[in-house]
């Protein structure tokens, strides 16, 4: 393997990791604050991506408008299912919410396919050639995807650390009883949380759709990698989710020359396992979720 190949693999891995980072962030936020693994995360992405396609098909050719439409749809579906399902399950065992979220995933996806069918869709975006730096190829789209992912993450971190509602989210994640005892009204905070989660999913779904294709199984298939990224980084840690996702992306791409494209997924899990054996709560995990 030459240095050029290595660079290309690193780029691919980073981009794939950043794509996974957004749903992983959404997962880890819900895990940290609402305290259950939300299996519907992927399907929120799918619904939002289709909403983006819908905006484009409706006549607005601009990818920017499509993105806004997707974010609105993502936030809406996320809030609807919170108000209907997850709010009712607060205070129950996490596994109840987990199973309900599998139900939400099925329900959301089936409602989607009922109306839009099973055909694949693609975003209408002009194709541009890669920039070639002596064999190291960089796709402008990839750069946009990476930039967008990084901007979204920066915004999320600003929200969590610089705004009152973000601080309250972190407080609830840290110690829900104490948060209540401080007078933090979790209803309002959770509503914002789910809106943010929906928007993150939507962005992730959009970017995945731009990079690949939009199909009804888009998000569901991303669920396991996103879970792995969250776990690797440590549950409830946003930084961890991003680092975990990028690490898994790079590790699996770098392993391709050695184990082939099929086992690269297994390599990602092997890495996960190794990390967990050394650090049972992931890279950035703290014992804050003691149950």
């Amino acid at each position: 393997m030459t240095l050029v190949d290595l660079c290309n693999l690193l780029i691919n891995g980073t981009i794939e990791g950043l794509l996974i980072a957004l749903p992983a962030l959404a997962l880890t936020l819900v895990m940290g604050v609402a305290r259950f693994p939300n299996a519907a995360t992927g399907d929120y992405m799918t619904v939002a991506a289709y909403a983006g396609i819908g905006v484009q098909a409706w006549g607005a050719a601009s990818i920017f408008l499509a993105g806004l439409g997707a974010i609105a749809a993502g936030a809406a579906i996320s809030i609807i299912f919170y108000l209907w399902v997850f709010r009712a399950l607060r205070g129950r065992a996490p596994v109840a919410s987990l199973v309900a979220s599998i139900g939400v995933a099925f329900f959301a996806r089936s409602m989607l396919t009922l109306f839009v069918g099973h055909d694949q869709q693609t975003f209408n975006l002009p194709l541009v050639r890669a920039w070639n730096f002596g064999g190291v190829r960089l796709l402008p789209t990839d750069l946009y995807v990476a930039a967008l992912a990084l901007i979204a993450m920066a915004l999320l971190f600003a929200l969590l650390h610089l705004t009152p509602i973000g601080r309250q989210m972190r407080a609830i994640a840290d110690n829900p009883d104490l948060a209540r005892a401080c007078g933090i009204r979790s209803g309002r905070v959770l509503l914002s949380l789910w809106a943010v989660v929906g928007a993150l999913c939507a962005l992730g779904g959009m970017m995945f759709g731009v990079k690949a294709v939009v199909s009804p199984e888009l998000g569901w298939e991303l669920l396991i990698p996103a879970f792995a990224a969250m776990i690797l980084g440590g549950i409830g840690s946003p930084i961890g989710a991003v680092v975990g996702a990028v690490l898994l992306g790079i590790a699996s791409e770098l392993s391709v020359p050695f184990v082939g494209p099929s086992y690269k997924i297994a390599v990602a899990f092997l890495l996960l396992l190794l990390v967990l054996l050394l650090r049972p709560r992931g890279l950035f995990g703290k014992a804050i979720l003691s149950r």
């Binding site: 399902v85 065992a93 599998i102 139900g103 099925f106 089936s110 396991i224 099929s262 996960l272 049972p280």
Partner: protein
């Protein structure tokens, strides 16, 4: 109709074995295993490969159970180190790795081409259609045995200890028992049951391929357990039957709402399963059979 019901019954009973195994792991011991399908697959492929290699069915079944239980050993050890959510994802990942291995190791499993022509059970007896009835009967017996074993375990001092682990691990350590060994044993026992279920599955469907062992199977087993009620043996029975009614019953719903196309019906079916899950967890959290949790 009867033969169809027998077939549905066989699949339901296979899911029941899986659910009983998971119920032992989660319902009684609190071990979150999201890799049920891995042990199911291991049992299925073990028995299929052995019989295709000329082994008789009975020893193949036994080996399937043993192999599934042995593979569960290291995962059981892992469960000692990891807390719930981490264990859930690790087992989920493990099941995907098992599927990938089945897919890639073509010298053994034929990979994505799959294993066709796995011998049916009781075919050599030459009893034709009654072979499936016999399969059903054996499955009923196996489930009864599993339930009996389970009830025996629950009522034994050992079983009370297991449930104590679920409720308070420290307390068990305090009375001088080693919960770690029990946890691993329970994990292996439940996985062995999944292996047995896999063997039945292999010899009923007669064709195995890696894409039959997606995490969706695991989710179905969880759904069956939750709907039936965790921590209850009757819950596993009721849950897997209800799951089957949902998955298969919608075929007949199709005949009564003819204005819906088959494509739409597929969506409607999935929507109903999803809706049932949502409503069950909200309005009947204890499951059909109630629960002490």
């Amino acid at each position: 109709m009867i033969a169809y019901l027998i077939a549905v019954g066989i699949i339901a009973l296979i899911y029941m074995l899986l659910t009983i195994g998971l119920n032992l792991q989660y319902g009684y011991t609190g071990l979150i295993n999201f890799g049920v399908v891995a042990f199911f697959a291991i049992g299925a492929y073990t028995s299929a490969l052995l019989t295709l290699g000329g082994w008789p069915l009975v020893p193949a079944f036994v080996v399937a159970i043993i192999v599934a239980a042995i593979v569960a050993y290291p995962i059981g050890l892992l469960s000692l180190r990891l807390s719930d959510d981490y264990l859930a994802v690790v087992t989920l990942g493990f099941s995907e790795v098992v599927r990938l291995a089945i897919q890639q190791e073509r010298w053994l499993t034929h990979g994505v081409q799959g294993l066709p022509g796995i011998p049916r059970m009781f075919l050599s007896l030459g009893i034709g259609d009654y072979a499936e009835l016999a399969t059903l009967a054996v499955l009923v017996l196996c489930n009864l045995a599993a339930i009996g074993l389970m009830l025996h375990l629950v009522r034994s001092p050992y079983g009370r200890l297991i449930q104590a682990i679920r409720d308070d691990e420290v307390a068990v350590e305090a009375i001088g028992k080693d919960p770690r060994r029990l946890k691993v044993q329970v994990f292996m026992l439940g996985s062995g049951l999944a292996g047995l279920a896999g063997a039945f599955y292999a010899h009923f469907i007669t064709y195995l391929s890696p894409d039959q062992f997606l995490p969706l199977v695991t989710f179905y087993v969880w759904i069956a357990m939750i709907i039936g009620g965790t921590g209850r043996t009757t819950g596993a029975v009721a849950g897997s039957l209800i799951l089957m009614v949902f998955l298969e019953g919608s075929r007949f719903a199709r005949d009564w709402i003819p204005s819906v196309s088959e494509v739409q019906m597929a969506s409607v079916r999935l929507a109903l399963v999803g809706l049932a899950l949502i409503l069950f967890t909200i309005y009947r959290p204890q499951g059909m059979m109630g629960s002490r949790r």
